[in-house]
């Protein structure tokens, strides 16, 4: 990458009292990239995003956003950012239209400019018809789209999205993804957090996986799967636990790695169909065999573990 990174963190750390929310992470985001922070709840994604958004002071290490230091030039940086927070914070006392106008005024934009952009942006997120409505009765997906439109009122170079589709139904999620993809094509740099693997695969050129305040892996979705998992995964389900336990030793060597779960056995392999054939020949008698592509979810679970952490 020859251009300087748009966002760069070096040994970046965030502490709240004695609690370490972000522990010494290094990352950089290039212009035009869609970059993801992936991780379970409490991994430090939101704390990182808030530092990038210049609404949370850095506790240690170094952070540069758009080439500037958030501690010294927070307002200048924020004037060139768009922020879509995890929790909607639209102004419920205002209409859809006024939400756009007032937000534009916070950036000090002239009204004529705001009017023009607001009209375009509401069309872009398919809310043109609802401009005179109040915000409260809008559906979750509409509110999220309005938040995205609002975040674009200052024509940001960098759009920060904290769990952009959490809580949305599938239709609404796909619409948001599609709009974000359009923004990416327009050259806007996207930095997003998510705990949805499919979202990361859909949107991110590159991502880091965070766990317990640290970065545990970095790469493109494909690259991470190749490095930390396998191209294919064969899922075997058995009728009884005894059958599953009996099958386990006999599966040794059928793939690169075999993992037993409470309800099924996963065989990680470079060639799913080949492995499935071997299993069928051996007469292990699984109730069902599913061959699928390796996903980020496999990488994620492998790196961050299957135990629930709250």
């Amino acid at each position: 990458m020859c251009a300087p990174p748009l966002v760069q963190g070096r040994a970046l750390t965030k502490r709240f009292g004695t609690y370490v929310a972000v522990d010494n992470i290094d990352f950089s985001v290039g212009r035009g990239e869609a970059f993801g922070f992936l991780g379970p709840n409490g991994a430090g994604k939101t704390s990182t995003m808030r530092m990038i958004g210049c609404v949370s002071p850095v506790s240690g290490g170094e952070l540069r956003v758009l080439g500037m230091d958030p501690a010294l030039q927070g307002a200048s940086i924020r004037s060139r950012l768009g922020v879509v927070p995890q929790e909607d914070n639209l102004d419920t006392e205002l209409t859809v239209w006024d939400n756009m106008v007032i937000y534009g005024r916070y950036f000090g934009l002239p009204r004529s400019v705001i009017r023009e952009r607001a009209r375009e942006l509401l069309e872009f997120v398919q809310l043109g018809e609802r401009r005179h409505d109040r915000v409260d009765p809008l559906s979750g997906g509409m509110k999220r789209r309005l938040t995205i439109a609002r975040a674009l009122i200052n024509q940001p170079e960098l759009l920060l999205l904290d769990e952009p589709t959490t809580g949305l139904d599938p239709q609404a999620r796909h619409l948001v993804w599609e709009r974000l993809y359009q923004l990416k094509l327009q050259g806007i740099t996207l930095v997003l957090t998510t705990h949805y693997m499919d979202e990361a695969e859909q949107l991110c050129d590159r991502l880091v996986i965070m766990d317990r305040a640290r970065i545990v892996a970095e790469g493109s979705p494909r690259g991470l799967i190749e490095r930390h998992s396998t191209r294919d995964v064969v899922e075997l389900r058995f009728v009884t636990t005894e059958e599953r336990l009996a099958a386990m030793p006999r599966l040794d060597g059928t793939g690169e790695r075999v993992e037993m779960l409470p309800d099924r056995i996963l065989v990680y392999t470079g060639d799913g169909d080949g492995t499935a054939e071997v299993v069928a020949r051996d007469g292990l008698g699984p109730a069902s065999v599913l061959v699928r592509r390796g996903t980020l979810e496999d990488v994620f679970l492998m790196l961050t573990g299957r135990t629930l952490e709250d």
Partner: protein, 258 residues
């Protein structure tokens, strides 16, 4: 960016909301005190007048008008610096959206106070006109009671908004109203001179910013300025705003940009 100073941009939002919801606000900050003025100033004042003649050298109506002026400014200030701040930080979280823009927490705090000051000024001005129409404002100096009432409003709004930003719920707010605002309303010289109070209670009244605001307003509306005293009252009120300001810029920053 050649635009309005940051604080005014915060104000703009309030104006847009106010244009839709002004009726309710106008009622509580203008109509209610006018009703008090009619009931207490004219109704009760008639009785007082018949028994004692004057209170502090003026008619009872003229005595109570500046009291109600300053006291209702305090009530407006308390109402619009507690719950709206809770809405901004916790309930609707709009303040979090604001600090993601170039505006800083201090701009938000300042804009909130500015709005309280503007509303208090408008309400005081309207009240003063009505009171003057009823004969409750004997002196043309009375016009100075408007900025005095607004300053009194800010003396309450500055620390209360600062405090509101430290809270996670509004549980304590009604307590502040019941145990703070209402007693002050009754015992800070609004309806009778504090010399009527038992001696041990008088220092409490003197410590109340509302008493200083009322005295300031009363000196203006009755046209009996004691310049040294007025300077003292002003200093106390400005002091409250200054202390509130320091605290508020800190609590807003801690709440919104931890």
């Amino acid at each position: 960016m050649a635009a309005a100073p940051p604080m005014l941009r915060v104000l703009e939002r309030e104006v847009v909301v106010f244009r839709k919801l002004w009726r309710g606000t106008a009622f509580s900050s203008f109509v209610t005190p006018v009703m008090f003025l009619a009931a207490i100033g004219l109704g009760l004042g008639g009785l007082v007048q018949r028994r004692t003649g004057h209170v502090g050298g003026v008619s009872y109506l003229a005595f109570v008008a500046p009291g109600l002026l300053a006291a209702s400014a305090m009530q407006t200030a308390a109402g619009s610096s507690l719950w709206p701040v809770m809405a901004g930080t916790k309930w609707v979280r709009t303040f979090h959206a604001v600090v993601a823009t170039p505006l800083r927490p201090a701009d938000l705090y300042g804009g909130t106070l500015l709005w309280v000051g503007l509303r208090a000024t408008a309400a005081a001005g309207a009240f003063l006109l009505v009171a003057a129409g009823l004969g409750g404002i004997p002196s043309p100096w009375g016009i100075l009671a408007v900025p005095a009432a607004a300053l009194g409003a800010l003396a309450f709004a500055a620390p209360l908004a600062a405090y509101a930003a430290t809270q996670d719920t509004d549980l304590t707010f009604p307590v502040i109203i019941r145990l703070g605002v209402v007693p002050l309303f009754l015992f800070s010289g609004t309806f009778f001179p504090i010399s009527q109070l038992p001696p041990w209670l008088r220092p409490v009244s003197v410590a109340s910013p509302l008493w200083h605001a009322i005295e300031l307003c009363r000196e203006a509306t009755t046209g009996t300025p004691h310049w040294a005293a007025a300077a003292g009252h002003t200093a106390v009120l400005v002091g409250c705003v200054a202390v509130g300001w320091r605290w508020g810029t800190y609590t807003f920053a801690r709440r919104l940009t931890p």
